[in-house]
Subunit: 328 residues, 2 copies
Amino acid sequence: MLGGMNVKLIDQKLVAECLKMPRAIELVKSAYADLTEGNVDSPLRTALVNEGGTVLYKPAYGEGAGIFCVKVVSVFADNVNKGLPVTPGIIVVNSAETGMPLAILEAGYLTALRTGAATGIATKVMAPEDSKVGALFGTGGQSRHQLEAMLCARSFERIYVFSRQEANAIRFCEKNRDIAGDCELIANPDRKVLKECDVITTSTTSPTAIFSDEEISDSVHINAIGSLGAQRTEISAETLLRSDVVVDQRAACLAEAGEICLMRDAGLIDDDYCPVEIGELILGKQSLGERNKPTVFKSVGNAAQDLVCSAEIYRYALDQGLGVDAVL
Amino acid sequence: MLGGMNVKLIDQKLVAECLKMPRAIELVKSAYADLTEGNVDSPLRTALVNEGGTVLYKPAYGEGAGIFCVKVVSVFADNVNKGLPVTPGIIVVNSAETGMPLAILEAGYLTALRTGAATGIATKVMAPEDSKVGALFGTGGQSRHQLEAMLCARSFERIYVFSRQEANAIRFCEKNRDIAGDCELIANPDRKVLKECDVITTSTTSPTAIFSDEEISDSVHINAIGSLGAQRTEISAETLLRSDVVVDQRAACLAEAGEICLMRDAGLIDDDYCPVEIGELILGKQSLGERNKPTVFKSVGNAAQDLVCSAEIYRYALDQGLGVDAVL
C-alpha cells in the first residue's frame, strides 16, 4: 500500500513567472467560449461556513484543458487584522488521464491574473477600437492586473485611477508606472473626466453604484468585476438599463451578480431578463449593436478561468522543470 | 501581493505514523455522534466525470475538529493496468480560525484506516461481547485495516479469510500475521464455518450477495463496507430484511447504499424505510433489541470520518515537528 505520489508545488512567484497577461487573456477567451458551448463542467461551488468566515470549493473540468482542478479559497475578513491574506487559496490539479494529483498551485495571484484577463478579453471584444482614455476604480489586490489587462487590450493614452482615499490612488499610480509604458496614470482627478472615458473598469467592494449615469458618456465600455454577491452593485440601474449588458456566465450572474439581482428585486427587470454571454460574442453567435449606448461587462468569476490558467501553468512548469517536486 | 503560505506536506508513511487504529476508532466514534447530532457539515460531494474516470470532491467542517478539509479522490479503474493506484487522493486541510491552508495529506492510507475504524466502532457497539470467531471477505486494499479494526474491537480466537482467488486469501493471511497476535488467520476454509462466526466483515466489490442467508447464524454481526454504489450489494435481501440494520448516515445510505436501494427498487421495503444511525446507538438514543437476529452495519463512508482523522494527524505532525514544510 505504501507508495508515493509525485506532486509539483507551484508557489505564487512561480505562478507569476509561468503565465503572463497576454497569454492569460487568450486562455480566458477560450474558457468563455467553452463555457458558452457547454464544453466545460464547472458545477456549483460548495461553501462551508463558520463564525469566522467561509471556505469555498470550486471544481472544474474541460476536455480541452486536459486536467481537473479545484480551487479551495477562503474568505476570512478578519485576516486583514492578523497580517494574513483575506482570501488565501490553493488550486489542486489532477490528471485527466489517470486522476492522479499532479500539482498544487498558490491561487491568489492566479485569481487576480485571470480576473484581470476577464477585463482584458471583454475590453478587446466590447470597447471602442480607438479607446484612448480609461478609468479604474479601486486600488486593491485585483487592481494592478485590471490595469495591466486594460493596457493589453487597447492603446490608452491615459488612465484615471480613483480611490476613496486619495493617498491610495497616488500610491497605486506610482507603484504601477512600471507596467503603464507611455500611458499616463492620473490619481483621483476631478470626476468630470469620466465623461471623456472610453473604458471604465470597476474593481471595488462598494455596495452601491460608484458613479451616476449622468457622469459617463454614451459610448463608454464598462468592466464591472468587483462587489461580489447578490446584494452589492458597482453600477447604477440607470446605466445598466440603457446599456448592452454582457456577462461571463448567464446562470451565475442571474443568481449572484448584485448588478442584476438588485434590479430584479426592485422590479426593474423581468424574470426573463437574459443578458448576452461574452462567449456568444467571442463565438460570433451574438453581436453588439450600434455604439450609441454604453456596454457593460459583468463578471462574477468562473472556475473555467482557473481551469485553463492552471493547466497552462502546470504544463509550463513541467516543461521547464520548474516548481518543487514533493512526494505524498 | 507576493507573500507565501506555509503548508505542511504529510505523506502516506507519516499519516500511518501519526494515527493508529485504536485512536482512529475513537475519532470515528465521535464523528458518527457528531453526524447524528448535526454537529458536522459534510455536504453532498461533487463529482467531475470524463471517459477515463471520476474525480470526487468531499468537503467537511465541524467545530470540534477545528479544521475545514476536503478530500480530492479519483476513481480511475484502468490505473491498475498502469501500475497506479485506482483511487489516488489527497486531503487539503484549512484552518478553522483563519481559513489558511495548513496541510496536504495523502488520502489513500487515511481512507483505508478510517474505513477500518468504522468497522471497529460498529463491532464494538453492535457485535456480541464474547465474539471469538470472525470472517473477512475480500483481500484488497481495505482489508488489512478491516482485520486490524476487528482485532481492536473484540478478542477473536480465529478469523476466516475468504477470497475468490484462494492464493489471495493465503497471501493475505501470511502478510497480516504481524497484526493478528494470538488470533489464528485461516485462508478460504469450507464455507460451512460461516455458521459459527460471531462477526463477518465484507470488503469486496461484489455486485451481488456474497453469502446466502442460510449460511449465517442468527446472532451474527455483519459489517458491510464494500460494494460502493446504489447498484451493488454484498448482503442478501433475506438477511437484511430479518436483521437490525444500522447505517453510518441515513440520508447517504438511503441514496447510495446498494444494500438498501436494490431492496427499494425491488419493492421489498417501503419508501419510509428508516434504518438506525450508528450515532444514535453511540449517543444512547437507540438500542439494539434482543440478540435473536443478525445485526448489519452498512457504511458508505462519510467526509466526517476524514475530517476528524485529518485534524488529529495534522495536530500530531505539527506538535512533533513532522512532515515537510512547503511554501506556496
